[in-house]
């Protein structure tokens, strides 16, 4: 099946800033359409100002074009439905941890505060250092158990 090959190809496209996790695992792939005119792929940006979007787009085109049966690939970023952090798959959450990034918390307190467990030792004894991290989608935390700083993917939901 061509569709399986396309999904397989998309699985090789990683987040340029977190190369252990694919755009499928991050929940960024919304639609794959195979038409006589080519393959149309709709992606959801995690954060809108993310500078990695153009790189991701190019990598998707390259990966899918490499499939023999595919002539033409078009990639479009759409805002609806919005990407939310609960779209990260269970495998994606594990891959983030492997990279040293805590997966996005599933619960946010009414005050807007949230906590993430340490991706290294699993401790819940952590503190928020900076809501804003090195990229738009990450925050910086500190583990009081193993004394490591770490990053967490920000929770993002339509309830905010």
């Amino acid at each position: 099946m061509l569709r399986d090959k396309i999904i397989e190809a998309l699985q090789t496209v990683k987040d340029p800033e977190i190369d252990s996790v694919s755009i499928i695992e991050l929940g960024m792939v919304e639609e794959v359409e195979n038409t006589p005119n080519g393959v149309f792929i709709k992606l959801l940006p995690t954060f809108m100002g993310c500078p990695a979007l153009e790189i991701i787009k190019k990598n998707v085109v390259n990966a899918v074009t490499a499939i023999d049966e595919v002539q033409n690939v078009e990639v479009q970023f759409i805002y609806h439905p919005p990407w939310t952090s609960d779209r990260v798959s269970d495998i994606g959450r594990e891959r983030l941890k492997e990279f040293g990034i805590a997966p996005p918390p599933r619960h946010i307190a009414e005050t807007g505060e949230w906590q993430a467990d340490c991706p290294y030792c699993g401790s819940t004894y952590t503190t928020m250092e900076n809501l804003f991290g090195p990229t738009a989608c990450r925050s910086i935390l500190y583990c009081k158990s193993c004394k490591n700083p770490f990053e967490a993917m920000k929770p993002v939901s339509t309830l905010m």
């Binding site: 100002g49 609806h80 990407w83 939310t84 807007g112 900076n130 809501l131 804003f132 738009a136 993002v156």
Partner: protein, 272 residues
């Protein structure tokens, strides 16, 4: 009713009102993101440098998306809309274009952090009020974009509210400087809520709620903060420097556009 892009293109009055509103939203975010970028390396501490540049990057992303929506409505190329329009065509509120303080980024930047905090907090709250309203906009692509912007804005608002509360309640120089900055901001705050001359059209077409409603909602959202910090908020806000929605601007805007567009104007056809 809800308008898709095709519906908007068939109704000229509707399209014009939507375009005007989008220019206001895009230009507001664009210029404030630029002012934010001028703080890079100058913020009070390294964590703030990281946070503020992240916020400015998000905000520029929102501007780019609004310019994209304008492009779809036939208003022109997004890059040109961002870089090639003269100050007199810009629709941003004047409060957002004002310089960060004396000096320039390269020479003696004596920027005012109190003003940065006040301006960004007041703006984030005003944007929040607008975005909540836009979630119900009759223009479907704008309503969808609002949902996305809202999730990022959440963090911006949280950030600036924290700074604001801490500096206002710190006492001494911090409190005095925050009070001065607030006085400046209140004096031009109405420019943020103004919908310009097509405002009535926008409201009639259910693109967004009225200026009065937006202002009321802002005051309401601010009231717990105002009460707990004992802030002297004026009954009425001003538009001392004029209404940016009408293309009236200070010289601060033109010099910002000159700096910002320097590379673009060097070779507008270059591909990045």
């Amino acid at each position: 009713m809800r308008y898709a892009l095709e519906d908007a293109m068939k109704n000229e009055a509707y399209r014009d009102a939507a375009v005007e509103l989008l220019f206001q939203l895009a230009d507001d975010d664009f210029i404030l993101a630029y002012r934010g970028s001028e703080w890079l390396g100058l913020a009070p501490h390294i964590e703030e440098d990281v946070a503020f540049s992240s916020i400015s990057q998000d905000t520029m992303g929102h501007a780019a998306m609004f310019y994209q929506l304008l492009h779809e409505l036939g208003a022109g190329d997004p890059d040109e809309l961002a870089h090639a329009r003269p100050a007199s065509d810009r629709k941003n509120a004047i409060l957002l274009e004002k310089v960060n303080g004396p000096g320039t980024y390269l020479t003696e930047p004596h920027y005012d952090w109190a003003f940065a905090v006040v301006r960004n907090y007041f703006y984030a709250q005003a944007k929040k009020v607008k975005i909540e309203s836009l979630k119900n906009s009759s223009y479907q692509p704008l309503a969808e974009a609002a949902v996305k912007v809202n999730m990022e804005l959440y963090y911006h608002l949280l950030h600036w509210k924290t700074w604001f509360s801490q500096l206002v309640s710190a006492g001494g120089e911090a409190t005095t400087r925050m009070e001065t900055a607030m006085e400046t901001a209140f004096g031009d705050l109405d420019g943020l809520f103004s919908l310009g001359q097509k405002g009535a059209e926008m409201v009639k077409h259910n693109l967004i709620e009225s200026e009065d409603d937006l202002r009321k909602r802002w005051v309401q959202a601010m009231s717990p903060v105002v009460a707990s910090l004992d802030i002297n908020m004026p009954e009425k806000f001003g538009m001392k420097s004029g209404n940016g929605r009408d293309g009236v601007h200070s010289s601060d805007l033109q010099s910002a556009l000159d700096t910002l567009g320097e590379v673009y104007n060097f070779d507008p056809a270059a591909s990045w």
